[in-house]
């Protein structure tokens, strides 16, 4: 599904070039549940952003579903966001002025889904995450775990093939974290959704079936658990 070849991401300073990512080669197949780990500043988020088309590599090639991404324009990238990719963020990034219901509904609006169908899709999603009672509340009226549930629901409503989660449990306590991870696990196993998450926690990483370790912008260990 994802094929990265010799990806470089750097920032040019006056006297030197600072590499954030250097020479990354990575293959991720459909149905994988991958955890990207590494210390702060290792380039984990940047890698995830490049995979999610939010950032561009300076060098190298990126194929998504065998299509070259490095040649896409902004509008085509938006098309991919609509149809294939769902994002979950550490800080949830819900829109404060919209209710739970409206936040979940938003991706469908950009996809021009009809009103009645939208209603039933959102209702299903609320049901699935047990947040029907909260649908008219605004994000600031929810706990962190509940907000992240809404964030996940919003990412899922478009039935994406790929979910990118940047430290999804970083702001949550352990019970809430487990709940989110179990949802991911279930999605991965039952619906075959590919999941890539960035995490600092071994426990959270263990929900996945593959771990990629980054150190100073380079892959140091690809899937350490499998070697054990």
């Amino acid at each position: 599904m994802i094929k990265l070849r010799n990806i470089d991401r750097y920032i040019d300073k006056r006297l030197q070039r600072n590499f954030i990512l250097k020479g990354i080669d990575l293959d991720i197949a459909e149905g994988d549940f991958v955890s990207i780990m590494g210390p702060s500043g290792a380039g984990t988020s940047t890698l995830l952003n490049i995979i999610g088309f939010l950032d561009d590599a300076n060098e190298g090639e990126y194929f998504f579903l065998d299509e070259p991404v490095h040649g896409l324009n902004e509008k085509q990238k938006s098309e991919y966001h609509r149809s294939y990719i769902g994002f979950v963020f550490q800080a949830y990034h819900l829109i404060d002025e919209l209710t739970v219901y409206e936040n979940i509904e938003m991706p469908l609006l950009y996809r021009k889904v009809k009103g009645s169908q939208r209603k039933s899709m959102v209702a299903d999603m609320l049901d699935r995450f047990n947040i029907v009672a909260k649908k008219d509340l605004f994000p600031n009226q929810l706990s962190g775990g509940q907000q992240q549930l809404v964030g996940v629901a919003r990412a899922l409503i478009g039935s994406p093939k790929l979910i990118l989660a940047d430290e999804p449990t970083g702001n949550l306590h352990s019970d809430q974290s487990k709940e989110i991870m179990q949802i991911f696990k279930k999605l991965n196993q039952e619906d075959g959704v590919t999941i890539i998450q960035v995490t600092h926690s071994d426990e959270m990483a263990s929900y996945g079936d593959r771990i990629i370790n980054l150190q100073d912008g380079a892959v140091t260990e690809n899937n350490p658990y499998e070697e054990e």
Binding site: R82, S83, F89
Partner: protein, 820 residues
């Protein structure tokens, strides 16, 4: 989707109530102000267009030129109209002449009821009037009403004034005790939006009866008291006619036996609809307005609108932080940049729509007082004119686009990666742009304040300037050819019998006013063939005393010198220089020819010299002047128009009652009407006065809107620096330190704004002041005005900023730090 946008927009508005109020009210005030100005400008712009054929109606004007004198005149000789009609039948459909006997007041009397009034807006007109101008006759036949001698058409209002509830048709009004005019038609009141004012019109053919003793009265081509209008035939171009007009000047004007040899004349056509705004000739029917003032007002309206739009831009971009996460998230969820752009532009349309609704309400509320201020009957109705609502919509869209596009471009440009990290740093670019906009706003405000101050100062200067004569406590009575004129000596004697009457005289024109006369009075030393016209005034005895004029040589007119009656003339100091004499004393005894080339030439001798005084208005320089004495009934009837009475200071009512009593004894026909000279002189500067109060009001609004914007920005910057303030306070900063911290940036911007505004305003102001021969002392006053305006703006800005600075400074530092 649309619903979603609206929801977000409305919730954002409600969430930030202060910003929303500033945004919406700033825009609403700006929109309302520009709408009011637009109404005023449109009203001025559409003068005379109520005439259905206004496009084809032209006025003939003439330019007389002699060696050192050019006069552009709005009026023409008597016979020009009929001659043009006869000479160019292919081009001209019809012509119409207007004649008011060159008098400004006309007495009409209903003999049956015994009521009489004096009317200003009366003309003798040709019967073609109704087929050229669109007057609405309620009674009478437009083809017949002005045909026969002695016919009169009056407005409904006047019908009520003279006849009450009676039917006036067929009844008579006596004109000046000279001729009975029969009412043959009643018309709707003449629209205000016209360069002419009409209350009564009589048939032109009546003039033959008025002038029964002199049937040659209209033969002169030199005397030009007639306003001539024409309706061109369909398809005829005014230029076609204009190119042939030299034939007329050649065959009629120059062919006239009395035509001065070195004087040339040129005829031209003036579109009817241009007169009100573009014509400022001699002998206009009424004082016209100037298109320059409309441009100034439009610029001011533009300024105010721009300032309001800048507020909107600044507040929207300043607060972008709060919307940035939404932008990033929407992009991540698949929103195109274009969609986000439309969303934000849509939000600004929504705000504009709310603002314009409030603005329209404000217009309705303020229209009555605005109308009163500008002296017009302005009306604003959403539904009477089909273009109003679409116009407002276009206006809204325009403002929405103008104010909304920069924030929309800026906000929709955020990169999700950057903004979703949660640590958006305010773009330096946008902060710089915002600073530039604030500077621009305050530059406009400073320009307006200084402009207002200068206009105000100049108007005040003109109104207070010593005219060289005493204009206070002088009562003017119209005296042209009425019974008081016949019995002036009796009248004078009886009026003077009352102790509060100081002095009484009579004169040809009101001194200090626009209207003036030039006569063919020339100094002997310049030779007999000299053709030039000089400014001249005719008075009776006691003129110098009544107006407290200063005699610098010789003496004033006196009955002790019997020769004065025929031979005495006074001149002013300017005339002394013109005579190339070294001192006023040398001028005594200088001879003047009156009508030197004429058979009835008179020679008069200078008996006194007066210090210069502003015989014409302050819009003109003082010119050389001769003042000659009128003695005897016949010259009095021919030349004198007003009686001037100086009454003792204090309550004038007793004196006025006395004068009225005498007036009624001497002149039972004409109503007693008076005007104080100082009031009369104030009217001359009406246009400037209106401008001055308009610009004062508008520049205040401008500052208000700009301050509103500053208030918003200051509150925002206080919010941004909350943490910094907290830290500084915990390190021991005092409240003034904090105020300094927050105000410094803004004050620098305002200082820059002043630096930009000053030279620009100075240039414009100097150009404007060039229009006035008499200006306030520019070099001592301008620095005060400029620096004063700068300080004024600074104080207002500081006060605005301090509100938030103090608020921020008073917050407990712990709260501020821990919040972040």
């Amino acid at each position: 989707m649309f619903k979603n946008y609206i929801k977000i927009a409305v919730r954002n508005l409600l969430k930030n109530k202060v910003y929303s109020l500033i945004n919406i009210f700033g825009l609403a005030i700006g929109l309302a102000t520009s709408l009011l100005i637009l109404l005023y400008v449109l009203n001025e712009w559409n003068y005379d267009t109520f005439n259905e054929r206004s496009e084809s109606i032209f006025r003939v004007i003439q330019t007389m030129e002699s060696e050192n004198n050019v006069e552009k005149e709005a009026s023409t000789p008597f016979l020009l109209g009929p001659v043009l009609e006869a000479e160019f039948p292919d081009l001209i459909q019809k012509t119409v002449r207007f004649y008011n006997l060159q008098e400004t007041s006309h007495t009409f009397r209903n003999k049956q009821k015994g009521v009489s009034f004096s009317e200003e807006n009366f003309y003798f007109v040709d019967s073609t009037f109704f087929s050229i101008f669109s007057a609405n006759l309620v009674r009478g036949n437009p083809n017949e009403a002005l045909k026969n001698p002695g016919s009169l058409v009056i407005t409904k209002e006047l019908s009520e004034k003279y006849f009450g509830n009676e039917d006036p048709m067929g009844k008579t009004l006596n004109y000046k005790g000279v001729i009975d005019l029969t009412v043959t038609g009643i018309m709707e009141s003449w629209p205000n939006q016209s360069h002419m004012e009409i209350d009564l019109i009589a048939s032109y053919t009546s003039l033959n009866e008025m002038y029964s003793s002199d049937q040659e009265y209209d033969q002169s081509w030199l005397w030009n008291p007639i306003w001539t209008y024409m309706l061109l035939k369909e398809g005829a171009e005014p230029s076609d006619l204009e190119s042939q007009l030299p034939i007329i000047t050649e065959n009629y004007f120059y062919a006239y036996s009395g035509w001065p040899a070195d004087e040339t004349v040129e005829l031209s056509l003036q579109p009817l609809t241009d007169i009100h705004l573009h014509s400022n000739l001699d002998s206009e029917m009424e004082v016209n307005s100037s298109v320059l003032y409309l441009y100034i007002l439009l610029v001011v309206a533009g300024f105010i609108l721009i300032i309001a739009c800048i507020n909107f831009m600044n507040l929207s971009t300043a607060r972008s932080l709060e919307r940035s996460r939404e932008v990033g998230m929407r992009k991540v969820l698949g929103g195109y940049r274009k969609q986000l752009f439309y969303q934000f532009i849509g939000e600004s349309f929504l705000i504009c729509l709310i603002a314009i609704t409030i603005g329209v309400i404000l217009v309705f509320l303020s229209l009555p007082s605005f109308s009163e201020m500008v002296g017009k009957e302005l009306s604003f109705n959403l539904f009477t004119h089909p273009a109003t609502i679409p116009g407002l919509i276009v206006f809204t869209i325009f403002v929405g686009l103008f104010a909304g596009s920069y924030p929309a471009i800026y906000l929709s440009s955020f990169e999700p990666v950057q903004v979703l990290k949660g640590s958006v740093v305010q773009g330096k670019k946008s902060a710089l742009f915002r600073k530039m906009l604030v500077t621009f706003q305050f530059t406009l405000s400073v320009v307006l304040i200084i402009g207002t101050a200068i206009i105000y100062k100049q108007i005040q200067f003109i109104q207070e300037k010593d005219l060289g004569f005493d204009e206070s406590s002088i009562v003017l009575l119209p005296t042209k050819q009425n019974l008081v004129a016949w019995e002036f000596e009796t009248f004078k004697e009886q009026v003077l019998s009352f102790s509060q009457i100081e002095s009484i005289t009579a004169l040809s024109k009101i001194i200090g006013s626009e209207k003036q006369e030039h006569y063919h009075y020339v100094p002997e030393k310049f030779g007999e063939s000299n053709d030039e016209l000089n400014l001249a005034l005719h008075t009776t005895y006691d003129f110098v005393e009544t107006f407290d004029l200063k005699l610098i040589a010789g003496r004033s007119f006196s009955k002790d010198f019997p020769t004065d009656a025929k031979q005495a003339v006074l001149i002013n100091r300017e005339m002394v220089s013109k005579l190339e004499l070294n001192s006023p004393d040398e001028a005594i005894g200088e001879a003047f020819y009156f009508f030197p080339t004429n058979e009835d030439r008179e020679t008069k001798y200078v008996i006194g010299v007066l210090e210069d005084f502003n015989y014409t208005s302050l819009k003109k320089e003082i010119e050389p002047l001769t003042i000659s004495l009128v003695d005897g009934v016949i010259p009095f009837l021919g030349l004198i128009e007003y009686t001037a009475i100086e009454i003792a200071p204090g309550n004038p009512s007793d004196a006025l009652a006395h004068i009225e009593k005498i007036w009624k004894e001497v002149n039972p026909i004409d109503p007693f009407e008076y005007q104080f000279l100082d009031d009369r002189l104030t009217e001359i500067y009406q246009a400037e006065d209106t401008m001055s109060s308009l610009s004062l009001a508008f520049s205040m609004l401008c500052i208000l809107i700009a301050s509103l914007g500053l208030l918003g920005l200051a509150s925002y910057s206080a919010q941004l620096k909350e943490k910094e303030i907290g830290i500084r306070k915990s390190l021991g900063a005092s409240i003034p330190d904090i105020i300094k911290l927050l105000s410094k940036d803004f004050l620098v911007l305002i200082a820059i704004a002043n630096c930009i505004a000053w030279p620009f305003t100075y240039y414009i102001a100097m150009n404007w002041l060039q229009n006035f021969p008499y200006r306030f002392d520019v070099y001592t006053n301008i620095p005060i005005i400029f620096i004063g305006s700068g300080i004024f703006i600074m104080i207002i800005a500081l006060a605005t900023i301090s509100y938030h600075a103090v608020k921020a400074a008073l917050v407990n530092p712990v709260d501020a730090i821990s919040n972040n």
